[in-house]
């Protein structure tokens, strides 16, 4: 039954010359300080086909392709050697990125949908940082300082193909294939020292680490679906095959001096070359059958089976003082590790629904068998078998089209990674030595989530609340031990008592009188994390709250104003050293304005004032950020735009990051982009032009 006796249709009318068409946009900009930004996309279509081409390259921290959701996850880390390589983020590095690709969709044949795409990406971050770590120990506290310079260049290629075929009214088959290739170069150099709580030097040194690796990951999926003769009965089978290979080489040289009462008593020199390889191959087979039960419920039964073979190897050679070559095999740091994992699951779920309700309940039974062996040397095969029951349930009540409430319960397990099980010692950072634990059990997560959402069809008022609680049994944490010379050793172990709570409230309303929208978003997070340091159990309770208030105004058709206030409050309490419990604040106040002036001119300005407090001395900051631009639409139909812009006009940008882990509080200053000007040009490939007729 439709809306009584009315039917709804959506009418999309294209002008005649648009039926075989193209649209797109090209951007180019050059600036001071060697900055540049190029971007372009073109879309072509004709009956049955659609082709899009995209390209970008810039060094202004704008990962265009990632923002469009085009880049996927990088290949798995090849070895634990990487666990001591810095993690590059947009907050701590200056990023040069770009790439290009095309994607094609063919739907000419009603029974076949074909999709092909290729994308090349280049990601090259540069990180220059000064960091300060305060270690938390039951009886004492260490201070670690480091200056680091690191850069990486990653070249990636991704190919995807899929074809969805309708065999007949009841059956269909879908085939998907993907191939990813990646080449990475990383260079990291650092100088460091460690002081005890009296300020006396315990150790100092420098380290240079160079890594090169390349590899591929390939995956093929087949999915067959069939509707059986009785309505509601369906059957499907899915087969997935994957394989991957990643090989790398590395060069590490470091020198660390150890002091006692101000005198150097030991110097540890490391000169190593290493090679690593990580190969994997696996499959998954899944079959699902659904059957209607009573009038409005359904039962779904599935079985799956899978297997994966992983082979991780690392060979490390020390510089041989006699031969002058890297030919002294370091047995402690060389290993050939193989693991074979098998999964067998059975799952069952019952779903039922009415006009306003939906309810489902089910469970998965999973049997996991992990076989791991250390090859070449002492050959002992470790077997770990786990049988887990993973229940789930969901309830949703829909008051009406605009108001609903949902309650969900899910469970999941996280298996330990092969490098966490591998008993190899990793000393690429000589002060942080990591070792694996073959007795690890998987983590088991229980999550309960509540969502309430209500909105009004046209008065702009809305409210959404999201609350979730997750408890992790057997969480894998690092048990640390720090000796008197400041060297930390870590080994992963299972521990209960870790849980976290997440809450989000988003509310908005329209203030018609002042032609504005007001919105309030509050995010909160509370976590309880257990630590093991020098054999003593302690916990860290971390509370983080971020309220944000925003007012968007449209006083006239040509003027857009936005006022934003954001406060972030974080408080961490350590049971091991309550005196180190700390809190920090971040405040950010923004004022943005966009004004369309007569004569096709547009002026815009963004002003922010940022205040960071509560960090270690020397790491607090407060500074203004001002960006502005002036642009003019040119050419017929406003098809072009010329823009002059400045970023950080006051030259005050600073990046201070606080990072809290289970064993230390870290504050860092990183090099960021400061003031630069840019002159850019935008061109629209369609006659529609770049200017919108109303806000």
């Amino acid at each position: 039954m439709d809306d009584g006796n009315a039917t709804k249709t959506i009418n999309i009318t294209l002008k005649d010359d648009k039926k075989n068409g193209l649209f797109g946009k090209l951007n180019t900009a050059e600036g001071t300080d060697g900055r540049y930004a190029e971007k372009g996309n073109v879309n072509l279509f004709n009956p049955g086909n659609q082709l899009s081409v995209i390209g970008a390259l810039n060094n202004i921290n704008d990962d265009v392709l990632a923002h469009q959701g085009l880049t996927g996850s990088p290949l798995q880390r090849s070895s634990k050697q990487e666990s001591n390589i810095p993690v590059f983020t947009t907050a701590n590095s200056i990023l040069t990125s770009g790439g290009g690709g095309a994607n094609l969709n063919n739907f000419k044949d009603e029974k076949k949908d074909i999709h092909v795409d290729y994308l090349y990406t280049l990601t090259s971050p540069l990180l220059v940082a000064d960091l300060h770590r305060q270690f938390l120990l039951p009886d004492t506290s260490w201070l670690y300082n480091q200056h680091q310079q690191a850069s990486s260049t990653v070249n990636g290629h991704a190919f995807n193909f899929s074809i969805d075929q309708k065999i007949n009214d009841k059956e269909s088959v879908k085939t998907t294939a993907s191939l990813n290739l990646e080449d990475t170069r990383i260079n990291a150099a650092s100088a460091y020292n460690t002081l005890d709580e009296n300020g006396t030097r315990a150790n100092d040194g420098f380290s240079n680490n160079n890594i090169a690796k390349n590899g591929y990951r390939a995956k093929v999926d087949f999915l067959y679906r069939k509707k059986l003769s009785r309505p509601g009965r369906t059957f499907s089978v899915a087969l997935s095959l994957q394989s991957g290979d990643l090989t790398g080489t590395g060069q590490l040289s470091s020198q660390t001096n150890f002091y006692r009462s101000g005198f150097r008593y030991l110097t540890d020199t490391i000169n190593q070359q290493s090679g690593s390889g990580s190969k994997n191959v696996g499959f998954t087979l899944r079959s699902v059958y659904t059957q209607p039960l009573f009038n409005s419920s359904l039962i779904e039964i599935g079985v799956s089976s899978g297997g994966k073979l992983n082979n991780d190897s690392q060979q490390t050679y020390d510089l041989n003082p006699l031969s002058g070559k890297y030919d002294a095999l370091n047995q402690l740091l060389s290993n050939n590790f193989r693991s074979t994992n098998f999964y067998d699951n059975a799952d069952i779920r019952w779903l039922t629904s009415g006009y306003k309700t939906f309810f489902s309940i089910g469970t998965v039974i999973q049997q996991t068998d992990l076989y791991s062996e250390v090859l070449d040397f002492n050959k002992n095969v470790l077997y770990n078998g786990y049988l887990n029951l993973l229940p789930n349930a969901k309830f949703k009540y829909t008051f009406n089209k605009y108001k609903s409430i949902t309650l969900t319960y899910v469970t999941a397990i996280n298996l330990p990674a092969s490098y966490q099980l591998q008993p190899l010692i990793d000393n690429t950072d000589p002060l942080n030595v990591i070792q694996g634990n073959p007795d690890l059990k998987p983590e088991y997560n229980h999550t309960l989530q509540f969502v309430f959402s209500t909105s009004h069809p046209y008065n702009g008022n809305s409210l959404r609340m999201n609350l979730s609680f997750t408890d992790t049994k057997n969480k894998i944490i690092n048990a640390d031990s720090i000796n008197s010379t400041g060297i930390k050793k870590s080994i992963p172990v299972n521990r209960n008592g870790n849980y976290n709570i997440f809450a989000a409230i988003d509310a908005s309303c329209k203030l018609k009188a002042i032609k504005s929208y007001l919105s309030l978003d509050v995010y909160g997070r509370f976590s309880n994390n257990i630590q093991l340091t020098n054999g003593i159990v302690s916990d860290t309770k971390d509370l983080n709250i971020q309220p944000e208030l925003r007012l968007t105004c449209n006083p006239t058709e040509n003027l857009d104003l936005t006022l934003n206030a954001l406060v972030e409050y974080d408080k961490a309490v350590y049971s091991v050293q309550p005196t180190l419990s700390n809190s920090y604040f971040k405040q950010q106040y923004d004022f943005d304005i966009i004004d369309e002036l007569p004569g096709n001119w547009v002026v815009s300005s963004n002003f922010s004032y940022i205040i960071n407090t509560g960090r270690a001395p020397g790491f607090n900051s407060s500074f203004p950020l001002l960006a502005a631009s002036i642009s003019r639409f040119i050419l017929k139909n406003n098809r072009g735009e010329v823009r002059l812009s400045v970023s950080d006009a006051l030259n005050k940008n600073v990046s201070t990051i606080r990072n809290i882990t289970q064993s230390y509080i870290e504050d860092s200053h990183t090099q960021v982009l400061r003031r630069y000007f840019m002159l850019g040009f935008v061109y629209s490939l369609t006659r529609v032009g770049l200017r919108s007729t109303n806000n």
Binding site: M1, D3, G4, N5, A6, T7, K8, T9, N11, T13, L14, K19, N46, P47, G48, F107, E110, D221, L223, R225, P231, G232, T234, S236, A238, R286, S287, V288, T290, P292, N295, S296, S297, L298, E300, G302, L351, T352, S353, Y355, K356, T357, F358, S360, T398, N400, K401, Y402, K403, H456, P457, Y458, G460, K512, K515, S516, N554, E557, N694, N695
Partner: protein, 253 residues
Amino acid sequence: MKHLFLIAAGLLLFNQVYAQQKEGTVFYQKVSSPAFTLNGQTQKMPEIVNKYELIFSGSKSIFKNLPRTAEDQKIQSNGSTLGMVSNNTLQLQYYDFDQKIQVRTKVLGTNDYIIEGALPDFGWVISDEIKNILGYACKKATGKSINKVLTTSVQNRVVSVNQKIDTVSVTAWFTSDITSPTGPDKYAGLPGLILQVENAKGTVLFEAVSIKPEIKEKELRQPAKGKKMSTEEFEKEEKKFREESTKAMNGIN
């Protein structure tokens, strides 16, 4: 003599079974295969099956849509349930042929309404064509139905919604073995129960899939939940709602 008695008993029984049915419950279904056409290319979407229930007794009848079943709702991917399409809202259509009224329930935004109006006139013209549906001999009747068509269009980045009144031709198949003048949805006014309705192109709008003589008496009553209005009052309300929503879609001003 004994044979005569048996034959008489048999005839009586026979008559009982085929006596004119005055009440019952009919289940209808509508299968839509939506498709959209862009640039001359037609893209088919997955089929939607909507199920309905009509309870009739004497001069009253009530028609409602049944809740979407879990099967109809789920979206599948790789053989496992990905998510659910939202539930459909309960909508009722009530007829009282003695009082000559039609009562419908409607939802606008967050409010429920009850609209009471006169019986619609389809101008049925009955033909001699006969078709068998569910074991009943059905005659064909053609009539005119008034449909409201809402068109949403976007031009120069401004959204506008327009309502057009369309008169379309419909075909109904009814059986005089069941004397109730009702049928699925709004279709009624024939000397028998309507079992199937088709549009001018021959697409089936509603088709009966089963009938049973039992009824749930409690459900056969005039809808009571919502704000009562006449057809004209509701049309004004609907127009206001449409205008406010379109204004909201186009921005604060």
